[in-house]
Symmetry: C2
Subunit: 312 residues, 2 copies
């Protein structure tokens, strides 16, 4: 069985932590133990991951040092975060494999994702990135940089960037080769570094591709048997946060689409995860599951999590 796994933020470092390397190593050690359970049961893994808090910290470092070091644009910061997270993740995975006497090894392939320069997302930035600011701070930065800001639920302001759809990966051929060779491959971290094709050039853009949609694209590319989206909750819920809240074991593509259209799942969190599962299954993928890292083996083998399937 081949699975594409999308790791959420909680798999990389504790929510509300400082984001130190020690914290990341501890979280990644636990994450890698769960994933090694799958490798031990002969599941071939392609692993994608988020990078929100990590690239946020890199962007903040750019800002604090801006008088001394020229800040790198977002695409370059995204590539730095792939290096940072990919390195720590590969090291944690290899260590978990070695402890169990498994011969499988992990590697990280730096990945660029091609997006369409005419994607409507470029006209409507929605994805918050980097630190939060007071209104006057945000206004000053907007004036200096032309960046777009939006107000958050906590009344602080954050920069928003476009979140275009992933079309394909620049590194598709080598990606398939290393996966076919049987390695555990870490790829397309943070949704991939978004690039557009302009004549004969590739150019990085100031945008963030949703990591779950990228994972779905990756799952289609590698003909995965399973798209596995790991997050902080065990199952998807309908009526979330209301007295009618109900955990869902199984959704057909039609039901999922209906619930998405009804605004049942929040745009910034569960929405794109459901959408990614729908994308994959509707395009012929056999099975997609949203589950927690703690119950990952159940999600793959024993019916844990919320499964999205083509038909009843």
């Amino acid at each position: 069985m081949r699975a594409v796994v999308a790791l959420g933020g909680n798999a990389l470092s504790p929510v509300g932590g400082t984001g130190s390397a020690e914290e990341m190593r501890a979280s990644l050690r636990a994450t890698s133990e769960s994933l090694a359970d799958l490798v031990e049961r002969d599941v071939g893994l392609v692993i994608s991951h988020g990078n929100g808090p990590q690239v946020g910290r890199i962007l903040l470092q750019q800002e604090y040092a801006a008088d001394h070091v020229p800040p790198m644009p977002m695409d370059v910061c995204g590539a730095e975060s792939q290096g940072q997270i990919g390195y720590l993740l590969v090291q944690a995975l290899d260590s978990a494999f070695r402890r169990r006497g498994l011969s499988t090894r992990a590697l990280c392939l730096l990945t660029q994702v091609v997006v369409d320069g005419r994607d409507p997302a470029f006209r409507r930035p929605t994805k918050p990135v980097g630190p939060s600011y007071s209104r006057p701070q945000a206004q000053r930065i907007a004036h200096q940089t032309g960046h777009v800001f939006t107000i958050m639920p906590d009344k602080r302001w954050r920069r928003v960037v476009p979140s275009p759809k992933p079309l394909r990966f620049v590194e598709e051929t080598p990606l398939l080769e290393v996966i076919e060779a049987g390695h555990v491959v870490v790829a397309a971290g943070g949704g991939g570094v978004p690039v557009v094709e302009h004549r004969n050039e590739l150019r990085g853009v100031e945008a963030v591709v949703d990591k779950d949609l990228t994972a779905a694209r990756l799952a289609r590319l590698v003909h995965a048997d399973l798209l596995l989206i790991l997050t902080a909750v065990d199952k998807v819920a309908t009526g979330y946060g209301t007295p009618a809240e109900r955990a869902v074991d199984r959704l057909t593509v039609a039901e999922a689409k209906r619930l998405l259209a009804a605004g049942e799942f929040p745009e910034g969190s569960m929405g794109p995860k459901i959408e990614a599962c729908v994308d994959f299954v509707a395009a012929g993928g056999s099975r997609a599951v949203i589950a927690s890292l703690e119950h990952v083996t159940d999600a793959v083998f024993g019916g844990g999590g919320t499964e999205i399937v083509a038909h009843d």
Copy 2:
């Protein structure tokens, strides 16, 4: 023909520049044009590169933001620099290949290099990293962190870290696979992220492996026909900076060893390049050349640069 190319700092951004992304893109565009000349002539390329100024800037950013974002240790900063430089280099290479209608594509594989925890280098840190400080600044940081500092020719102080020998790469198998598949592979940037094996674990260490020695190790691994060390000068000189200065076309391993032992080549610059060439050729490698990026085609095909060979 297969060549392992080690790119020096001047190939990545202008010496004395600010290190902005625009500057890096411009330098990498020129570098990629030179390298595409080789690809056009059917040379298979494995590309390694330095990261001194880039990781120095990342370390400086850690420092300026340290009250707000936990600084990452050196191994993680090295991985970030592989992401940063690897991304920009792959993009520049692919664009150069596309402009010429070449079907070859580049990719970057994040690379860890295994070093020996008992390498004597760990008892004698020699490699300057990161920003330079006044004496009181350096003393304060040394007191807080335990870092070792040394005085530089300009009377400023810089942190020094150990520079152990590269033994092997964690990612050797996939590295060979993607090279055999015919891709241009960017690997082991900044000399590779140095790790030690400790029981069943891999652990990053605060050290820097010399990028030219790493390139020589890479050249042995992939059975390269040529180790090509690109730097700012066209040829190696003996008597450098004296009235007796003389450019050298060719050195045997025995001559090179004699000159190294005589202290003819400075430790921080030409020394490790010669040493890397000697390493490769003495281990059975056919040919090693030190040359400038401008004359890279001559160096490969027409006798430019300084060649290190086994015998006369």
